[in-house]
């Protein structure tokens, strides 16, 4: 009886050990000619399973298998505000068997905040996957602010009174609120609510007066909020009545977040070309498009993506103390 139990326990442990194995496949780098992966491809996501980054990445991975010709394993390496996963990606073998998702501008902020030891030079861009644009919103039943101008005027007349919830200190939506308020010339109080869901909750329970989120964040609950303005050079076709901030004379550049697909810097150009082609086809696949309706797919080639990463890096570095003070 006792021996049997011991055996059962041992089996249980072997099972547990096996559960965390896997992913240790090695592959010889392609010597020459066009690259083709010869084993499962690992896609590193720097946030946990089920997170906002994880969902779209998994949909991409699922439909990309057809064009890559191999299984694509999503590996969630979270922690350190994303920097643990990006550190791991930067250090991965540049054999084309490991690629990853790079969140912009979070990735750039992690460099500015010295969370990781990597720089943009440690990665090579493959393509862009998702782009989401920031918007300024208030509660739908808040009659004080029918439009962006009324919000700004109220803010100017009452400095340090309006409250804006953010998704973290100096995180993407805090940057958005700051950029808007600074360009419009009013000061406000930022409330770090934690995540995007808490940010919206803080607005709904009237602790905050306005907030900046991404357009996709309010999908399905549009009636609860009034969108006052959108960041970017042009209006969005889904909300054609909402003016851009630039139209009204405030912050005129695009702001939002992007998710690029990148590889460690050492990979050959063949590897980049292979994945760029395969992922482009994936994002044009009707099955993918049907599955990916909840977020904004935006394919950009590797040159444009590399430029976007550098531009976001420059922007993140420009956000010095001047940006954060009024």
């Amino acid at each position: 009886m006792k021996k049997l139990l011991a055996l059962a326990l041992a089996l249980c442990m072997i099972f547990a050990l096996a559960a965390c194995g896997g992913g240790g496949t090695s592959a010889a780098p392609a010597a020459s000619g066009p690259f083709k992966p010869d084993g499962p491809v690992t896609l590193i996501v720097a946030y946990k399973a089920g997170s906002g980054t994880d969902g779209p990445a998994r949909i991409l991975a699922q439909f990309a298998e057809k064009y890559i010709g191999q299984t694509v394993v999503v590996e969630n390496v979270d922690g350190g505000s994303g920097s643990i996963g990006w550190s791991q990606l930067a250090a991965a073998d540049p054999d084309g068997m490991t690629i990853g998702v790079m969140n912009l501008p979070n990735f750039n902020n992690s460099i500015v905040n010295e969370l990781g030891t990597y720089t943009t030079a440690d990665f090579k861009a493959i393509c862009n996957h998702v782009t989401e644009t920031s918007i300024v919103i208030v509660r739908a039943d808040d009659d004080r602010f029918p439009d962006l101008k009324s919000l700004v005027e109220f803010g100017k007349a009452n400095p340090d009174t309006l409250k804006a919830s953010t998704n973290g200190a100096k995180a993407s939506n805090h940057i958005g609120a700051q950029a808007f308020a600074k360009s419009a010339g009013f000061s406000y109080i930022d409330i770090n609510a934690g995540g995007t869901a808490d940010q919206l909750l803080s607005l709904r329970n009237t602790e905050s007066d306005f907030t900046v989120v991404k357009l996709g964040d309010i999908a399905g609950q549009e009636s609860a909020y009034r969108v006052l303005g959108i960041f970017g050079a042009e209006r969005d076709s889904r909300i054609p009545d909402v003016p851009t901030l630039g139209e009204l004379g405030y912050y005129k550049d695009w702001l939002g977040s992007s998710r690029a697909i990148v590889a460690p810097a050492g990979v050959s150009d063949e590897v980049i070309a292979f994945y760029e082609e395969a992922l482009k086809k994936t994002m044009e696949d009707p099955d993918y498009i049907a599955a990916a309706s909840s977020f904004d797919t935006n394919f950009l080639d590797h040159t444009a993506t590399a430029a976007l990463i550098e531009q976001q890096q420059a922007f993140a570095e420009s956000l010095g103390d001047d940006f954060w003070s009024f």
């Binding site: 050990l17 992913g23 922690g79 009237t206």
Partner: protein
Amino acid sequence: MLETLSLMGAGFVNALTPINLLMMAAGVAMGIVIGCMPGLSAAMGVALMLPLTFTMKAETGLIVLGAIYCGAIFGGSISAILIHTPGTPASAATAIEGYQMTLKGKAGKALFTACYASFWGGLLSCISLYFFAPLLAQLTLKFRSAEYFWLSIFGLTIIAGVSGKSITKGLISGAFGLLLSTIGLDPVTGAKRVMFGQAYFAEGINTTCALIGLFSMSQVFILAEKKIVERAQATKFTDKMSLTRDERKMIRPTIVRSWLIGNIIGILPGAGAAIACFLGYNTSKQFSKHKEAFGHGSIEGVAGSEAANNAVTGGSLIPTLTLGIPGESVTAVLMGGLVIQGLAPGPELFGKYAAMTYTFFAGFVLVQFFMLGIGLLGCRGFAQISRLSDAILIPCVTVLCCVGSYAIHKNILDIVVMMTFGVIGYLMRKFDLNTAAVVLALILGPIGEKGLRNALKSSGGNPMILFSSVVCWVLIALCVVGILSPMFMGKLEKKAEKEATGADPESPDEVVDIDVEND
């Protein structure tokens, strides 16, 4: 209303998938095994199994954790009845009558009673879960920064309740936990705090690793330190595991009373299954028509204790799920699992996550039936397991601790953190400090800090904002109750224990020979 009912129904449909049913059975069996081994506690079991649930679908993972919780609370009664050693403190009162029955050759009857009473206690406690949880969750819509600050303070008052003999030592443990909770990025300015130059600590100490270390690894050290001795032979029993119709009828009022007691104790923070079992036992004695049977193997006594401790499970999930305030150490561990599965406490629980929540509730109801079935069928086998030598247990648990913490992020630093906390936990227990208090502070510290600093920021530094709403005052009142009730509860427990055993509860020949770690 109709929508809610259909959501509840859909919950059952979702819960009834083959994989969920399989996992319920496995979770309950695992829980019973952990519960009936005197060295392992329910909190430790849940902590140990937490990482294994990460790869599952959210609702499946939650159901497994719930199943382990229920199973462990019931499992403690098996060793209490058969070898006079409660597997968890929650079954301490069961040992009194249960072992007497065993001596009279009625072990089967005692085990059946324990299983039957646990089932009803657990099942009835689900009613309150369905009824109160949505109401409480709705309340959190009114919570702003100031309210969150008070909520965390309210949660921290539980420390007084879980800290057993010395409140001072509980407070020391809590302060230590709060200090640890400041590690990571500053929630308001984003500045780096005590991160030892490691980006790894940017999001603070990994609560799951800390839990596994504090509860499971430290227990290994404690076990390893003791001389390995053979446990008493479990009594072989031949009588049938059943109750007559009259006996069932007799314990019915006892079960209902114990359910109410256990359920209320469960909802109250700071009081757990250990207190509930004694209160349930005493109440059954007071109301019994067969008082003479008590002390000589009363089935009412066994039923009173076991129905009460399992009624705690459903009750204690209410504040954990809705407010994020775990009322005792098992739910504190469970909380780690909930957060990782993406179930955020608050109004979204019955809004955005309603499907998942109701599936979990339905699973929790179904788990009770599995507990009844597996408990009745497997009692004889589980009794053997409860005698498993520490020589086998120690290496197994150590491996599971390491594998478990590594599996979360596949980061070797997680094992280092887990081991560090194992040593800290071991030392704390040597000095009678409280590991549950550390965990509570680790979870609640950041909520409180963010709440306070955001509130003061939005009021321009005026502290009156902390007293500016009705909800604030209600929470402040609850804090006062939270501080005072453990003192009252402590007295109640001592009194109950004294009445139950008829002797000083701390006398050495008494049944409770396990750590008075509350769970």
